[in-house]
């Protein structure tokens, strides 16, 4: 398995988690996530975000900050919250398993 694929799964979780805190516009999400994963390009984040949106994990609406330009904002849906919860449970389980094998996390 190449490292890109492993990361992409995690990417979904990260994007959902970022959006779950508060509604953000596309560019903000891309910037936030790529700041944490510098070797992933913004268009990759956008592609995953687009799919999450099509799957109904998030939805988008057009909003504007006072006087600013109109932007497409993304917010998490109920389905998205469930998916994120399941992902986090799985992720924590994975971390536990790794720890049990004695693989150090540092």
């Amino acid at each position: 398995m190449d490292k890109g694929q492993m990361k992409k799964g995690v990417l979904e979780m990260c994007i959902l988690s970022v959006v779950s805190e508060n509604d953000l516009y596309g560019y903000e999400i891309m910037k936030k996530v790529t700041a944490a994963f510098p070797d992933i390009s913004e268009s990759t984040v956008y592609a995953v975000l687009r799919r999450l949106n099509a799957d109904g994990c998030t939805d988008s609406y057009t909003g504007e900050i006072s006087g600013g330009p109109k932007r497409k904002y993304y917010r998490i849906t109920e389905k998205g919250r469930l998916v994120l919860e399941n992902m986090l449970i799985e992720w924590r389980g994975l971390l536990n398993s790794i720890e049990m094998l004695g693989i150090s996390q540092t």
Partner: protein, 331 residues
């Protein structure tokens, strides 16, 4: 890479692989990214670099596309249009090169091209499948009406002169309507698609020129000699131009259907060769078993036309490749 370059590179990478509404949606999001980045004081080049190359962006977007049933479905999508394109390329070149095909063939060629365009997703990409089909029906109706009008003048009025006038008028009508299509395509920034109505216009002028020639031939007046020659040469060159345009359009279709450039040219030249052989056989003296030089030369006109059209389309292809390579190089 500037915003404009990035957007157009991404558009051309996504074209034919996603629906027009999807592409527009993505590009408007990308526009927003550039605007948002610009409001933070970043340069267009910086934003484009952060986004990653248009090539990898397109690949990601296609890979992450919802409901994409994988490669098998994609291949299936291409088989039918590809088969249609090859058959169409062959038929069109045959009809065009023979020139001896019945007149009604010329009425069929333009709607036929429209049909191929619709089938291969040209319209789907441009304005959605539904309006593509509507445009096609519209084009067929124009040509059907023109054919009925012409038949009416020939068989009911029974005047060849009237028929010629009708043909010229009809050609004018086709030119105007196709010119409108060309203008719409041009305005939408689809300059390549302009070749399509252009081919139809050339076909119409060619048709009118043929009638003028026929009409002047049947009149005994000596002044008509000049018109006759002029019409004849006009017809000949327009005819070559039309083959060039048709060949180029077909090559684009084949390329967009997933064919490599060399295989397209192989198909194209095979078709030309067949046409040439058939032409030579047609002129062959039944008493000589092999085609003599004289008969081979008779087919020359057709091979010249074919070679010119192939060379022109090849040049177009090379130029297009160079341009797209230079664009890629900038990323």
């Amino acid at each position: 890479m500037t915003k404009k370059q990035y957007i157009s590179a991404l558009r051309s990478r996504l074209r034919f692989r996603m629906s027009p509404s999807e592409i527009n949606d993505i590009l408007s999001d990308m526009n927003e990214c550039f605007d948002a980045g610009a409001s933070e004081g970043k340069s267009e080049e910086e934003i484009a670099e952060k986004l990653g190359s248009p090539k990898s962006a397109a690949e990601e977007l296609i890979a992450q596309r919802p409901h994409s049933a994988g490669n098998a479905a994609k291949l299936g999508e291409y088989i039918l249009p590809s088969a249609v394109s090859i058959a169409a390329a062959f038929l069109l070149i045959c009809f065009a090169a023979f020139g001896k095909a019945p007149v009604f063939i010329w009425y069929l060629v333009p709607p036929f091209i429209w049909l191929i365009m619709t089938g291969t997703g040209f319209f789907k990409e441009l304005c959605g499948q539904k309006s593509g089909i509507l445009t096609f029906i519209g084009a067929v109706m124009i040509f059907a009406a023109a054919s009925v009008f012409r038949s009416f003048t020939v068989y009911v009025i029974g005047k060849e002169k009237a028929a010629s006038t009708a043909a010229v008028l009809m050609s004018l009508f086709i030119c105007v309507s196709m010119g409108i299509f060309a203008a719409v395509f041009f305005k939408k920034g689809r300059k390549l698609l302009c070749l399509l109505p252009a081919a139809a216009i050339i076909s119409a002028i060619h048709h009118a020129a043929g009638f003028l020639y026929f009409f002047s031939y049947s009149s005994e007046h000596s002044d008509s000699l000049y018109i006759r020659h002029a019409a004849r040469y006009l017809q000949k060159y327009l005819y070559l131009l039309m083959i060039c345009a048709a060949a180029y359009i077909l090559l684009i279709i084949l390329q967009k259907s997933g064919f490599s450039l060399p295989s397209m040219y192989a198909v194209f030249f095979a078709a030309l060769l067949l046409v040439y052989l058939r032409q030579t056989l047609m002129y062959m003296d039944p008493e000589t078993p092999f085609p003599t030089i004289k008969y081979l030369i008779k087919g020359e006109e057709y091979i010249t036309g074919g070679a010119i059209s192939a060379a022109v389309s090849l040049l177009f292809g090379i130029a297009a490749r160079l341009v797209s390579k230079r664009k890629d190089g900038e990323t």
